[in-house]
């Protein structure tokens, strides 16, 4: 165990936690050789299935298997129920915020959150003011990153309400685990995750612009996108078509897909293309991934885009500290999930604190995701910190800082034995007319010893996440 962290399997006395007892003893009973054999089976399954991600700049054999750790991360039923309520509450508040900020802006006028902070977000899309997405829904798919703190409480690390990825690994990991550990799996009564694609499709259909049989498509940037596997996976499992920008066109503010029988109307687009690339006539003119005229079709209410355009203002890291206030303001409720203390560099007082204590803080770009543009103060060199200080000086709105968090640990299989490795958790929240939380989510694990970085590009892997005590398995 690592000192001063929470371990998912063992309590501070080294005793196995109650919730995971069954799983640990079943794994233990397998023995080392058998475990190794099943590990090989899992790896072969991933490779054969092409369950891979691309690494940019790697031409030959561009796909790699996402490293997978066979020891499941487990969460008790009661604890999960509390978490799910908190997640649902949070997404409800963020959706209300987007609705408000692109229309009446009551929260700004009530001075709960400053206007400059909102409209200064790089994800703010001024054209989206006054445009109501079909069904009034902004956040159809949210991925909320959580970490467990040393006292055992979960805290939100960041929100992802633009194009959160990773859910395909949750489903594939589960399929592999069922195959590799059939008996353990059955006995543990793990809550199922398989219904995600159907839930997502139902949610999207529930907010389609009124039509009899709406056509749903998934818009992908193409096979060179690192998450292409996921786009194809979801299309297959949702039974909808996977399209690229050039497959679509807009005529009289309606979207059509080019088919072998001529153009056919499209009503719902689950787009995995960023806002800036969606429509070259309105956003980035050099984008080849988007569809000219899509914006007008959207603004006319003729197409549902999931997620909505302009959501980046809600998962901006400098807006994040205000989410508890949003929950109180819009819902009149107390926030159920904890947050992490955050310093906003755009605020003078905060900025000087950040510059002074950078060696103890983690500095993040406000509009980035996936660990990009991040500086881990305690591990950075003096020169790196100086460079970051300069960047903050140039663009204070672009950065925030947080204390270095102790992620919880979970046993992982490292070179033939178990060793504690840091993990986080990304649950997924799907909303149309109603909201549904996928039981569990993606557990990412920093497989390198001592590492805090769980991103796959930097030695991170994933684990299956078992929410125990489900009604069916």
């Amino acid at each position: 165990m690592i000192d001063d962290t929470f371990d998912e399997f063992f309590d501070p006395n080294g005793e196995i936690r109650h919730d995971v007892r069954l799983v640990v003893s079943a794994l233990d009973a397998l023995g080392r050789d058998e475990f190794r054999a099943r590990m090989r089976l899992a790896e072969a399954t991933f490779l054969r299935g092409g369950i891979t991600f691309s690494v940019y700049g790697d031409e030959q054999g561009a796909d790699r298997v996402f490293p997978f750790d066979l020891i499941p991360r487990t969460i008790g039923a009661a604890e999960w129920a509390t978490l799910a309520r908190g997640l649902e509450q949070r997404v409800r508040a963020l959706d209300a915020f987007l609705n408000d900020i692109y229309h009446r802006q009551r929260i700004v006028r009530a001075r709960v959150i400053p206007r400059w902070l909102v409209e200064g977000a790089s994800g703010w899309v001024r054209q989206a003011r006054g445009v109501m997405p079909p069904g009034g829904r902004y956040i159809h798919i949210a991925g909320i990153d959580l970490v467990r703190q040393p006292d055992g409480e979960f805290a939100v690390l960041e929100d992802n309400v633009r194009t959160p990825s990773g859910v395909s690994y949750v489903l594939e990991n589960r399929a592999v685990m069922k195959r590799v550990f059939p008996r353990i799996f059955r006995n543990a009564r793990v809550q199922p995750v398989d219904e995600y694609p159907m839930r997502l499709r139902d949610a999207l259909l529930s907010v389609a612009p009124s039509r009899r049989r709406p056509r749903v498509v998934i818009l992908t940037p193409g096979i060179f996108n690192s998450a292409y596997f996921e786009h194809a996976f979801l299309a297959r499992r949702m039974g909808c078509e996977l399209v690229q920008g050039a497959d679509l066109f807009v005529d009289h503010d309606r979207v059509f897909v080019k088919t072998t029988r001529g153009p056919m109307p499209v009503e719902v687009i689950y787009r995995r293309v960023d806002d800036a690339f969606l429509d070259p006539t309105v956003f980035r003119p050099d984008s080849l991934l988007g569809v000219p005229g899509l914006w007008r079709a959207y603004a006319a209410g003729n197409v549902t885009l999931a997620n909505a355009i302009g959501n980046g203002v809600a998962d901006d890291k400098a807006v994040y500290p205000y989410v508890p206030k949003m929950i109180k303001y819009y819902l009149g409720e107390e926030p159920l999930l904890r947050q992490v203390e955050t310093f906003i560099c755009a605020r003078k007082g905060h900025r000087s604190h950040v510059l002074e204590h950078m060696a103890k803080l983690v500095v993040k770009a406000t509009d980035a995701a996936g660990g990009y543009g991040m500086l881990i103060g305690p591990q950075a060199t003096k020169a790196e910190r100086r460079a970051m200080a300069a960047r903050i000086g140039d663009n204070p709105r672009g950065y925030i800082a947080q204390p270095l968090l102790e992620l919880s640990t979970c046993p992982a299989w490292i070179r033939n034995s178990m060793a504690p490795r840091r993990v986080d958790l990304r649950p997924y929240v799907v909303s149309g007319k109603d909201t549904w939380v996928l039981p569990g989510g993606l557990t990412r694990v920093a497989l390198r010893r001592g590492s805090y970085v769980v991103n796959s590009s930097q030695g991170g892997g994933s684990k299956d996440t078992w929410v125990l005590g489900g009604t069916s398995a």
Partner: protein, 325 residues
């Protein structure tokens, strides 16, 4: 279905068919040399000709290499600058499959992906060096499995129809090209009986088309030039004859083409004309007119049909048609 996806289904199937064809041709060549105890000379060059790669090959490796089995095999199997090598065709098939992963069945994807992984594995290289026959056999078997998996796991919808169409057009073209080159390499035989070497060569042509068993079941004569050519062109029940391939392709074209619409008119008309021409002729008539010219004409008509399919279905004009406005 989405036009681009239809195009990729069509091409994925074509590339896979090409993989199988190429592997079979090389395999037959390898064993033919053993059977007939012939010098390597003159038996590898036609393969490059069929593939349309003789000029490129000679430019890169020189004239003498074209008669060397090892050099030609390396080129036809592993060379990634060769547009019709097994490596290139398999990669193209897999790239297309990857882009239409949501369309093909999971079983097909896993099968094709595993094939690709195997081909790039050291094991495949070792088999190739140690036992070429087994190497080509493995490839052909895998292609057979994939064809069966496609048939049995894909929804038999438009995507499937486009795949079949791709397979059949590719196959028809390949059979014509092979027949053309071999026939001319041997020359039309008039005197009987043929020498043992000639007989062996006709048998090899049948084998290159997986046709020898079918031939002996259907025909009671020995495999001589005109009979073999006639069988490969016209036997309606043989799944690799040109007539069979085109008749089946026509079946799938009719399935694809929407009724009461102008869509698909170009390709339909061309195919109808070609079938009419073929039904009105015979191997004797074709030999009279010169087999090379006749085969060449079929190959270019098949290519025209492919182009017409692309125009009809893969690059539809964007103006809205009345029914969808």
């Amino acid at each position: 279905m989405i036009a681009r996806v239809a195009e990729q289904c069509f091409w994925m199937a074509r590339y896979l068919e090409r993989v199988e064809n190429t592997a079979r041709q090389i395999q037959v060549n390898v064993s033919f040399l053993l059977d007939a105890d012939l010098p390597e000379l003159t038996h590898w060059r036609p393969m490059l000709l069929v593939a349309g790669e003789l000029d490129h090959f000679v430019a890169r490796f020189g004239e003498p290499a074209a008669d060397r089995g090892d050099r030609v095999q390396d080129y036809m199997v592993w060379d990634d600058q060769n547009p019709v090598s097994l490596q290139t065709s398999l990669r193209s098939a897999r790239d297309n499959a990857r882009t239409i992963r949501e369309t093909i069945s999971l079983e097909m994807w896993v099968g094709l992906n595993s094939f690709w992984l195997w081909f790039h594995d050291r094991e495949a290289q070792q088999i190739f060096r140690r036992d070429p026959h087994a190497f080509y056999e493995e490839i052909r078997e895998t292609c057979g499995h994939l064809a069966g998996t496609t048939q049995d796991t894909m929804l038999h919808d438009e995507a499937f129809d486009f795949m079949r169409l791709g397979t059949l057009l590719e196959r028809a073209g390949q059979v014509c090209r092979m027949l053309d080159i071999k026939y001319h390499a041997l020359g039309p035989t008039s005197q009987l009986p043929e020498s043992p070497a000639e007989a062996a060569q006709w048998l090899a042509i049948l084998r290159s088309c997986s046709a020898s068993e079918a031939f002996f079941k259907r025909m009671s004569v020995s495999p001589r030039g005109p009979v073999v050519a006639g069988f490969l062109l016209f036997e309606p029940d043989f799944p690799r004859s040109v007539m069979h391939c085109l008749t089946r392709a026509w079946h799938f074209m009719r399935r694809i083409r929407p009724s009461d619409s102008l869509i698909g008119q170009r390709s339909t008309t061309l195919m109808q004309n070609l079938l009419r021409t073929l039904r009105a002729t015979s191997i004797e008539r074709m030999l009279e007119r010169g087999l090379h010219l006749e085969l060449d004409r079929i190959v270019s008509r098949v290519a025209e049909i492919s182009e017409a399919i692309a125009l009809d279905y893969f690059s539809p004009e964007t103006p809205i048609r009345s029914e969808s406005a």
